[in-house]
Subunit: 395 residues, 2 copies
């Protein structure tokens, strides 16, 4: 007979979902009210303002899409891209590949520029592609590649795209709240994120933001947006400033309670403090991992603090290590993807998971399991190295 599900208590240090703050779990369980209730509408407005703060934008069209980050990605593509368009996709990991799928399913042609997994997008390649494809309408790339832990330079890439009069679509699923992201200052036209990474919230919603240039593109489309559910012309009618909100779909009320609380927490902490916190714990984890003898996939200059991708020690069954961490320590870390499957671990320090307890748990559990499996690591040094780092870069 099926029974009430009581999940184990895990520490979530994979690529997401990351640990959800207790305040947010509590928010989820508050009584449901109607999606047109005046009190709910007021909360929607506040959520929009808090999202504008998180994205560092004044964009009016800044809202959470009622579905996970993948749907946020699709919202950007189906609204901004039309059949026959040429779209430049900068691919340096899994999520660039998914962008290509999105472009194709819009009936548009993807112009793909590739960088190795673990490397940032090369601005020179984008410059060349735009010269070779003067009809391109859009440039799409990932700010923080969740598959490899690399950061690309949004501002530079956006500047180049704008020199060629292209819109930009930026994937900020793993970056929002964790590292500097300045939508207005950098001129990003369309951006999407997720709630389950550095916002410490549960998965299921996708914050998006569109500037005036993007909205102009949407309004001047020749064809209808192919998705009714994601058509921003309709979604705007519900989330817009109109006193009379047009019913579009039933908003996921309780999930939005959670997002509101998570954005409130980010606001209370302050964006810069959150960025600094992510960096401080990253440096401590890094010090511990390196002290054990492990090395990072991504060069320091473009390494994400919230997603630490390190090579597993030689000769160790990395899947076994992850499995033991989960069963013996209730600790989840992530596997490698693509060419790095079986070779790296992806260790997240995102949002509420970015805290000292997690750094210490991860280092000590990893050391214990690896030592037990006779891995070639330095023992008894990791926590000490982490503490030294905290002494130098306080939280």
């Amino acid at each position: 007979m099926p029974q009430t599900f009581n999940p184990p208590i895990r520490t979530l240090m994979g690529p997401g979902p990351s640990d959800v703050h207790p305040r947010i779990l509590q928010a989820l369980s508050k009584p449901t009210i109607g999606h047109l209730d005046p009190e709910f509408v007021a909360m929607m407005d506040e959520t929009k303002s808090l999202l504008q703060y998180a994205f560092q934008t004044k964009n009016e069209l800044t809202i959470p899409v009622s579905a996970p980050g993948s749907a946020g990605m699709e919202t950007c593509f189906v609204n901004l891209v039309e059949a026959g368009d040429e779209v430049i996709v900068c691919k340096n990991g899994v999520f660039g590949m998914r962008m290509i799928e999105n472009v194709e399913r819009c009936g548009a042609t993807p112009i793909v520029i590739s960088d190795d997994w673990g490397k940032p997008v090369d601005p020179n390649k984008l410059q060349d592609a735009l010269k070779n494809h003067p009809n391109a309408t859009t440039v799409a790339f990932v700010h923080a590649e969740t598959s490899t832990g690399v950061e690309s330079d949004v501002k530079t890439l956006v500047d180049i795209a704008h020199q060629h009069d292209c819109n930009t679509i930026v994937d900020a699923v793993t970056s929002l709240g964790g590292i500097p992201l300045k939508v207005d200052e950098w001129g990003v036209d369309a951006i999407y994120s997720g709630t389950q990474k550095c916002l410490s919230c549960t998965p299921g919603l996708s914050p998006v933001s569109f500037n005036e240039r993007a909205i102009e593109t949407i309004k001047s489309r020749q064809s209808k947006v192919q998705s009714w559910f994601l058509d921003l012309n309709l979604v705007m009618g519900y989330w817009g400033e109109n006193t009379k909100r047009a019913y579009h779909h039933t908003a996921p009320i309780n999930a939005l309670y959670g997002l509101h609380e998570s954005l409130l927490m980010l606001h209370q902490e302050g964006l810069e403090n959150s960025w600094n916190r992510h960096n401080s714990h990253h440096q401590a984890l890094r010090a511990g991992l390196e002290a054990m003898g492990m090395s990072f996939l991504v060069d320091e200059s473009c390494r994400l603090p919230q997603l630490n991708v390190v090579f597993s020690p030689d000769g160790v069954d990395e899947a076994k290590v992850r499995s033991r961490l989960l069963t013996e320590y209730n600790l989840e870390i992530g596997a490698g993807l693509g060419e790095f499957a079986g070779k790296v671990w992806r260790i997240g320090l995102m949002g509420y998971a970015s805290r000292k307890e997690n750094v210490n748990l991860c280092l000590s559990a990893l050391e214990t399991v690896l030592a037990d499996m006779n891995a070639p690591i330095e023992k008894g040094v990791a926590l000490h190295a982490a503490q030294n780092s905290y002494n130098q870069i306080p939280i």
Copy 2:
């Protein structure tokens, strides 16, 4: 300064979301675990089984889409319909109109048969349309129209569609759990629902089910599904029986805890008991409303017990009544839509909202407010009539 949102405690008797059971609210706030965690995967399997029970189907492809009912609708259309197809849409309310939008956005041609709002779909019109359009591939209609409170005869309509070798897409957003719905016995090919109606759960997920015939259609498509997020070929890889689950998108973990608990509650109550409960409270509410002198929009033979649509008394500002119910009694009832805007109320008795306390609250609050506004109603009789009904049709 923004603050933690504390929603008012409402009684939700509109067209949805309906009251969410405390057990489900509690489930939502349990600690988040990873979407590939073995414990979570086991819960997914159990959720599938419980959904099969709710839908009365053995369909393997029975899963919750990670987005609201509108996305469930779109999942059915974008997977089963291709550009150039002819799709017969039976329209008798708002959601039939939305189906037409979906067909058009797939590049297909909608063949629309219309029935008046408040009337069920006429099988004879479907029969004629299929004769006149021998190339039609699909027939779509709504089981329980949320805009009017009318039930259409699924089995008859499916039989006719199958005589002409068409797939059927059925909207069961408001019917699932509230009235008899037998996917296998009736031969439905593709069906979608929502969580926020008779399942007593929060909005945000859309249970769907597809039979072998529908899967064959999907597998033999000429073109890729236009939505990456909703492409069942990919979703199946995650929700399927494979021991190795393919990552598609990050599942909305906590929302799925809630759905699991709501389906468990339905299983524990028993489907027939749930149907009977919805009917019993409907009859009591009906007795009270009629005793006050109000009448129903929909004929008794096809009236939904879970959504009571009644004309507001002559000369009464119905919006004012709803507003007073909300502010003075924390009671939400729904407005009319389309041609019935300003003329009817839609009073939901769905899921956990279908209980005696709600019937009595609604009748007494409505009577008090209407009397206060000098509406032409019979006073002092509603609760008595409701109790008489309960005596005759016990819960």
